[in-house]
Symmetry: C4
Subunit: 312 residues, 4 copies
């Protein structure tokens, strides 16, 4: 019989299915990303360029921008070279390489609409290509503007989760608890939490889900830290379980946080998960240092969020 106490009738629907993988699996990575890949779509079905531009690292984005700039200029320089450097005024024609480089920099000056004009097109072919290149340049930079704005204005919640979730004495009983705090300068308001336990049900051989009741699941301001508490009472599926049981059943605690970014009034979402190896039994969080200075301004020290004390 499964030691997990699953009395709840109405099962939550996470959308992760019921398959038992018969090995250790984690649905939510520690950085909050989802550990599932969809594959097998025909062609480029699942490629969304804009999504990539918005979510990739700033380094990769810069590499793409700079290489596109170089490649585009190489292509247009080649076109100009094919037309012939005689169709351009002001070209350095000492060697073929010099000619090509002159045309390459002419292309850069055209693409960015810089247009110094010491090199300039003569005749229709050269002028047409450069008219096309400058239009392309403007559209590309319109795109870049959109991408940069999209990246910066993207709703995000950057939460710090305590390294460990604790199972600790709490009032008369015990409780599962972990702490979160806001890492950023903006305020998060109307903050809601939900915690679901995923585990291999040894009775059915399937992956099962239990929503854990929280003592408080909503706060108005996440300015300090928030200790999220699931009391392990008689109705809790964690009743009488040890970390060893949780590890055996490959349990994963999936945490969803929803809040509003106060600066932009945007809904933001954060995810996290704890597995047995990231949990500690018989430990208690040390209260965060929180003090008011002479002017009544209140300070907290957030990097103490991970600190806990063993309890005997």
């Amino acid at each position: 019989m499964s030691p997990i106490n699953n009395k709840t009738k109405k099962k939550p629907e996470l959308g992760f299915g019921e398959k038992n993988y018969h090995k250790a699996v984690r649905f939510i990575n520690r950085d909050g990303s989802i550990n599932i890949r969809r594959r097998g779509l025909p062609g480029l079905g699942n490629l969304d360029i804009f999504h990539w531009f918005i979510t990739t690292s700033i380094t990769k984005l810069l590499v793409v921008i700079v290489s596109s700039y170089i490649i585009t200029n190489l292509i247009f320089a080649s076109l100009y070279y094919i037309i012939g450097s005689g169709h351009f005024g002001g070209i350095d024609s000492a060697t073929e390489f010099n000619k090509f480089m002159s045309l390459f920099f002419f292309s850069a000056q055209t693409l960015t609409t810089l247009g110094y004009g010491h090199v300039f097109p003569i005749g229709n072919a050269a002028s047409t290509i450069s008219a096309i290149e400058s239009l392309m340049g403007l559209l590309s930079f319109a795109l870049a503007t959109g991408i940069l704005f999209g990246r910066f204005s993207r709703p995000k919640a950057d939460l710090l989760y305590s390294n460990k979730a604790l199972i600790a004495p709490y009032q008369d009983i015990t409780a599962l608890m972990f702490r979160i705090t806001n890492k950023m300068q903006y305020e998060l308001i109307e903050c809601e939490a939900s915690v679901t336990m995923v585990y291999n049900d040894t009775n059915t051989g399937k992956r099962a889900f239990e929503t854990l009741k929280l003592e408080i699941n909503r706060i108005n301001f996440l300015t300090l830290s928030w200790t999220i508490v699931h009391p392990i009472d008689d109705e809790s599926p964690l009743k009488n379980l040890t970390l060893k049981h949780l590890a055996e059943q490959d349990a994963e605690f999936i945490i969803l946080i929803k809040a509003i970014n106060d600066t932009f009034s945007q809904n933001v979402y954060s995810r996290h998960s704890y597995k047995a190896e990231e949990m500690v039994q018989n430990a208690k969080f040390k209260p965060l240092k929180q003090e008011a200075d002479a002017k009544g301004k209140v300070y907290i020290t957030v990097n103490d969020i991970h600190v806990y004390d063993e309890v005997r």
Copy 2:
């Protein structure tokens, strides 16, 4: 008597009216667009340029941008030509055609604010027109920036629906079911579904609507596939109906999906519909292949979503 079992008191309001068209009609096209056109508004009442720019295909958009660019340059080149090529320095005045083309490319260099300067305006008339053209150019490209950003950042849910909806044995009874999955890289969360059946009620001679009760109408993550199930129990309007009945009554199953795009925290909507010819009786979906690799990363193969097996 109508074979459809319409016990429900409270009728849903889809907003498609009660008219019986006396021929096969479909309200939602298979691509999710609505199959109704509003006409008869005075003048250009129902033209919304921005909406067109945002929703048209990328090819049409490019055609409009490129032709506007050419036409605008033709207009300004003509104005410059009327002023006289003597009011410009650096013009190629071998022939009248050469003059016009010089002015055409001068216009392009002005509109894009490229401004090489090998051709340049002399005197107030030519300078005024080119000052106007460069302002127009900047405003047009401001517009283009907005349009490109609007297109890319537009909330969208790109779902894959199973080709067929099935009527299949389900637990002790039968059920109507179809599957959806997310085609894109971004995650969809807090996903909700509703299914409404539209049909010609042979009793009243009107178009009638029935909302179908779903086994589960909300999941937290649409990372795998989701099989949406309407159990055909005693309360279902589909009780004892065959596909032949559905075809006779021109039934259409209208599906609305609402979710949140996790990357932008935007609400997104998707629609789909099935008619009798897109349904199969006595068939069951084959489970999607879903496996974990050595590192615990889970994979699913989404193009198997359409695969079903006949059931005897």
Copy 3:
């Protein structure tokens, strides 16, 4: 005694206060704007430039852009003229006026970053001012980009309301009804309506409010027209009232519509109001023409929304 039947206990709160103006007043104009002005804020307290740029007419916006362009160029041309035309190469110095105009056009070429270069600055003073002007130009056009995007992407519901609200026989009783339809190409979904009656209560001498119960207050799609119906049953405050009563009590029916613009998943709001003179007793709306063509595509003719027939 007031003839209006105000049985409802819980009063709705519109936020328009209880003051009786002792003359005909309308809170919502027919175009949906609110007929109340706030004044008396110190200084420019209530000026929001961006709001003005977004909501003003396109003509006024163009006038502001073009005049700013001219004025800015006049200011910079004057600065350059004070520095002296000798600090510029390529100036037409035939007359003082020619000099000024050359500098004016040089300014325009600098502000738009066009920079032909046939006129160019010599020395630090002229170069510094032109470096400032080109920075200003870029920032202004960044602003213009934001304004144009803000205007186009602004959530809007452009609804057509029937010219008249009707009081008509409806099933066994009578009902207040009016019709709306969507004038635009985009679809409106999840559409909700609320109707509140505002009137001078002759008992209290104050402005009173009654929310009217609607037969249906929510539809899924506003693709056809929607006839919004308040049944005048025993609980209705309109029970036994005629248009003459309504006019005497300066009644105003305030309509709020909330929907989702399907293209952008934005919430949109629309307001309208009817007063007694815009209402007709004993009349019934003529059904809108709605037909399917050979391919099953459905058409409606929306400009018939105003058409009604007298009922004896």
Copy 4:
């Protein structure tokens, strides 16, 4: 025993913790900002450049833009100077300082993509650096466009709160009340208020929270002013309390307002707080002047919102 009457069972969760600071502390500043600082994050963990750009004052933003412009040009001018002024055409080479200044202005003309061309690069080194600079310029101005748009389109509620909260006779009992109005031109709709009292509980020695019941907590339009009223009935925690009690217990009334900006359909939030010294006992607000002109247009005078009369 604490004189505050805390009968409510279910405690609200503001998220400000229970610490008693043993000195006067205020959680919400009078301008609505939160009076708590998070510190101690490793490195630049809590720095969000975009947030700073969006929320800083316009003056600071301009200082940053102008100094970045100058510094960038100094850096590129130095690079060009190292390459050697011989690699540029059109340089003023009278003195070394003149050379540097020529290169500085050449840099400005390149960064803004102005490109007059009277100074121009010769050879690959100079051309390469200027091609990089013009790309950098375009990307920077793309960024500036995003920042300016982000600032202007940022959801904001600019409310005016009455200077004082009053405790005044109200119907048969007394009530706590304060007034708000909208300072801006846009309309605020669907406006909701909540009021929480924070105080030092002398029984537990902890900071306690009580939500105050409001007579009306939601209005449809905030076009006039709104007087928010907490009736001090038998269930109110303020029952029998004087301002002196409130001051002794360091009570703070935290107000949260949520509304929708009608122009952009955005949710907006506003916060405010009152402490004992900002409250007046036995005073009543003077009604705001509100009048209709000959055309039926209604006017209110909002700067009278602070005016109250003593009550005996």
